[in-house]
Amino acid sequence: MKFAWIPSLLFLVALTSCGPTEPAPLASDTPAAPVADETAEPVAEPAVDAPAESLTIGVMPKLVGIDFFNATERGAREAAKELGVELVYDGPVTNDVQQQVQMVETWLSKDYDAIAVAPNDPDAIAPVLEDARAKGSAVIAWDADAAASARDYFVSQCSPESVAHALMDLVAKNCGEDAKYIILTGSLTAANQNIWMGEMEKYRQAKYPAMTNLSETPKVSEEDQALATQVTTDILKAYPELDAIFAITTVALPGAAEALKNSDRREQVYLTGVSTPNVMREYIEQGVVKEFVLWDAVDLGYLTVHVAAAAAKGQMDPAQATFTAGRLGAVGVANNVVTLGAPIVFSKENIGKYDF
């Protein structure tokens, strides 16, 4: 009987302690916003064409707590501040689509004006996004696409062709047009990676027919850096004829670089792929990896919020071939896909300019 009160007390504590943390994320990025909301609403800053009530936009990355999606958050915050919209940026702790679905379900209860999701699975996210559209939210997929019927717009980093071509060209330049290579991916269901691999194969057949993919099924690293290191060590042992490795997730590339750094084939095997500058900096400086490919993550988050806000206000015109997004200027739009631009090739020369 006596003990019945203990959990209750504890949860009162838990509840009261979560009260104050609620405005904290808002307070940290837009210092004066919560106060301004209450007192100074009529003199709202971006008085140009903002509706009286400010928009709330939910942006969900594939997962939180990794450099890439921290950088997209910075861009998203920047755009939200510029546009005077309220931004909720939250995602699951692992790249799990079920958690994403449940979180979007909660967002439905909160009636956000726009919801932008980087889905971990294009089909599994679709039903809940369709519900969101039915409820009247503008729905954006970003970073990875959702089933086309489930979203209004897709904000794409760069076209899959441009990433695939950049990667293949790097290997052709460094290892010759008869290079033998292997691809290290995340999971076998990762949508972006599968599309890139398809494009890489197409481009190989068209432009570099002498190149050989030594393993038709890509090697899998499951977004786990330690596993990527282990798998790469095995690859280096199992394929003595290997010239190049593509590690095409942000986690797989540093994992593979770690394996290559400690391998006696460090000079013979050319490693490239897709990752973020911060995790690759030391490998670039040590020369383990000479070049790798990515888009600007900050700009991607920035563009996503611009598109989401415009879609929520009904200002997106699918007939237009370009969309003007703040400091990015005009970006291309086709078939409801907004594309950020061409990928950046990072190397010793330019990596110092980027922090994500």
């Binding site: 599994a124 679709a126 999971s187 269901t189």
Partner: protein, 326 residues
């Protein structure tokens, strides 16, 4: 009599649920919206269906870690038989339930008759069934399921509870889960199954001497767990509209958390199906409420973890006060 009821764990949990619920209702805008809350309950339904047999298993001091993998495997069976083999969706579903039960029987058979601890067996089959699902589906997402099947998790029942537009809002999946809880309660409290189960958990040797066929009982419970996973897999697949081998990861931990928060001791001996239901509702409400309050997902996980620890500690304390027999 009333005093005794008030002192039970279930009552403490009930008070906790009411407190958490009213706390969120008072302080979090938009939380107290019944249709919304019931929409959320679709995401707890599968966890609950699996937590019922899990309660029995934990009562015997066993564990089933393979439930998430069985759900994935049975889901893949539906996707493959319907999508690739061209079966009708309902015969594919029946096959999935059968595969689930078979997987459970495999767990139960190995652990009971070959005398391998269930922790070891189900740890192994957790990987084995997941691997099978991966291999069978060749790691594809299997979608394109018919609307009628999707209704399992989209459909609402109980028309007398209608929202403002006259639409029912109690999900069919949640109602099914409650039925399974009801059946579990009857079995645990009103039948020999529950008596034998608690007896085995209390003192297995004594149970053997009392002429209880312990091995058969355990095998039966693991089979029931697999069966529940097979049924749960249908609702799970309908909910996410796709069958995938890497789905329902961590479901075993969620189901076990419901059972433990619900007051069933992990060391066996006493099981409470009502407690498990309350545990499920508390975890579900807490998670949804914290997210609604704007707490980031990464911190929500922490709060749920704290809840499980607090509940486990309290359970041990209460058990000790009662002289260790509970």
């Amino acid at each position: 009599m009333i005093k005794r009821m008030l002192a039970t764990r279930e009552f403490a949990l009930f008070v906790l649920l009411i407190l958490v619920f009213s706390g969120f209702s008072l302080f979090v805008d938009g939380f107290l919206d019944w249709p919304d809350l019931f929409r959320q309950s679709r995401y707890w339904a599968v966890m609950g269906m699996i937590a019922v047999p899990m309660t029995f298993i934990i009562t015997t001091a066993g564990i089933d870690l393979s439930v998430g993998s069985i759900v994935a495997l049975a889901g893949v069976v539906v996707g493959l038989l319907y999508g690739d083999a061209g079966w009708s969706i309902w015969s594919a579903s029946a096959a999935a339930i059968f595969v689930g039960a078979l997987a459970g029987a495999f767990n139960g058979g190995i652990s009971s008759y070959l005398r391998v601890p269930p922790l070891v067996v189900t740890l192994a089959t957790m990987a084995l069934f997941r691997g099978l699902a991966m291999g069978l589906s060749r790691a594809r997402s299997l979608g394109g399921l018919p609307q009628g099947f999707r209704w399992l998790s989209n459909g609402n029942v109980l028309g007398f509870l209608a929202d403002a537009n006259g639409q029912p809002y109690v999900p069919f999946s949640f109602a099914m889960m409650l039925l399974i809880f009801g059946a579990g309660w009857v079995l645990m409290r009103k039948s020999w199954v529950g008596r034998f189960t608690e007896c085995v958990g209390e003192n297995e040797t004594a149970a053997v001497f009392a002429a209880i066929d312990v091995r058969w009982l355990k095998a039966l419970l693991y089979t029931a767990s697999g069966l529940a996973c097979g049924v749960g897999a249908l609702f799970h697949t309908a909910l996410y509209a796709t069958a995938k081998a890497d789905t329902a990861v961590g479901l075993e931990l969620e189901a076990i958390a419901c059972v433990v928060v619900g007051g069933t001791r992990i060391s066996g001996g006493r099981g409470s199906v009502t407690g498990t239901l309350l545990g499920l509702l508390i975890i579900g409400v807490l998670r949804h409420g914290l997210l609604m309050a704007g707490i980031r997902q990464q911190y929500v996980v922490i709060y749920v973890g704290i809840l499980v620890i607090v509940a486990a500690v309290l359970n041990e304390r209460i058990a000790l006060r009662k002289g260790g027999v509970a």
